[in-house]
């Protein structure tokens, strides 16, 4: 089981994973979510316009839209900074 992540971290994981089209099963497996929670996250991201869906051979595919760029960039930049600029743990 994946360790405890915040909703913002899960959004980021879904959005970076869906840079290329992915099925619902792909997403919940990769991000280690149960289907109920997975559905909620995907609905939220669709509602925000961060994800779009298309059909391929009767399967619904999720893909990250350009609207998500700001969120993904801000998250990546700030999390990297958070690690780089904080004190280091050394024995």
């Amino acid at each position: 089981m994946k360790p405890r992540r915040t909703q913002y971290e899960i959004y980021w994981e879904i959005l970076t994973f869906c840079k290329s089209p992915k099925t619902f099963t792909n997403i919940i497996n990769r991000c280690d979510l149960n289907s109920k929670i997975g559905k909620e996250y995907l609905e939220f991201l669709k509602e925000k316009g961060f994800l779009s869906t298309s059909m391929n051979e009767e399967k619904s595919l999720f893909v990250t839209t350009d609207h998500a760029n700001n969120y993904v960039t801000t998250f990546t930049k700030m999390y990297k900074e958070l690690f780089e600029k904080s004190p280091e743990f050394k024995l």
């Binding site: 360790p3 992540r5 994981e13 316009g49 700030m78 999390y79 990297k80 690690f83 280091e88």
Partner: protein
């Protein structure tokens, strides 16, 4: 920049991995010493066929140290398990540590700390208690060894007692030093978690701006 962050990951992961392995080693030695002290003193009590207070106290300390060391060892294994997973993830992505991979590692390390916060606190406390038990046992053994030297005991028995005393004192000292390193690790990650709430506020703004 990519090399800087990669080096920082490497140093931090190496330090934490070493700390976790050290914990397992000392937890294991502690367990062995505890059970051996407990059993030896129980045998001495059985042989004497009476309740010797001194031996009884050593038996209690021995078994208590054994129990605490067992918990210490189990918690250490839990911690090492997660540390190994993160180290493996780093090894896999270190040749191509782009922004996405680096961020993914930070997310994993942060989630790992959130998940293991209470185990680390427990470990800090357990190793400290075990350390005190071994230190007390070491001091008692030191007094005994000195007495035996004065009374002219055989060289082999004195040698065994000296080894036992050193081992107890070393495990005792490790039980006091290791929690300090864990506290250092916790304070670094607590600071990062605190900073992440500021990041979350920014991300909230990003999400609110996208309301359809």
């Amino acid at each position: 920049m990519a090399t800087d962050i990669s080096n920082k990951f490497q140093r931090e992961l190496k330090s934490f991995y070493a700390l976790s392995v050290m914990n397992i080693i000392f937890g294991g030695i502690g367990m062995a010493l505890g059970i051996s002290a407990g059993v030896q003193n129980v045998l001495a009590l059985v042989e004497a066929r009476s309740l010797l207070l001194y031996q009884f106290a050593l038996t209690l300390i021995g078994f208590l140290a054994f129990g605490i060391s067992l918990r210490w060892l189990l918690s250490s294994v839990e911690i090492l398990d997660g540390a190994t997973d993160i180290k493996d993830d780093y090894e896999k992505s270190k040749t191509k540590l782009d922004d996405e991979n680096a961020t993914s590692l930070v997310v994993k390390m942060m989630a790992y700390y959130r998940d293991n916060r209470s185990t680390i606190r427990r470990l800090t406390l357990l190793s400290k208690i075990a350390g005190i038990c071994f230190f007390v046992n070491g001091i008692i053994l030191l007094i005994n060894t000195t007495n035996n030297i004065i009374l002219g005991a055989s060289l082999s028995s004195i040698l065994l007692m000296v080894i036992g005393t050193i081992l107890n004192l070393v495990v005792g000292a490790s039980g006091i030093i290791i929690p300090r390193s864990f506290r250092k690790y916790s304070s670094v990650w607590e600071y990062r978690l605190e900073q992440s709430t500021r990041v979350e506020r920014e991300l909230d703004k990003e999400l609110e701006g996208q309301l359809k």
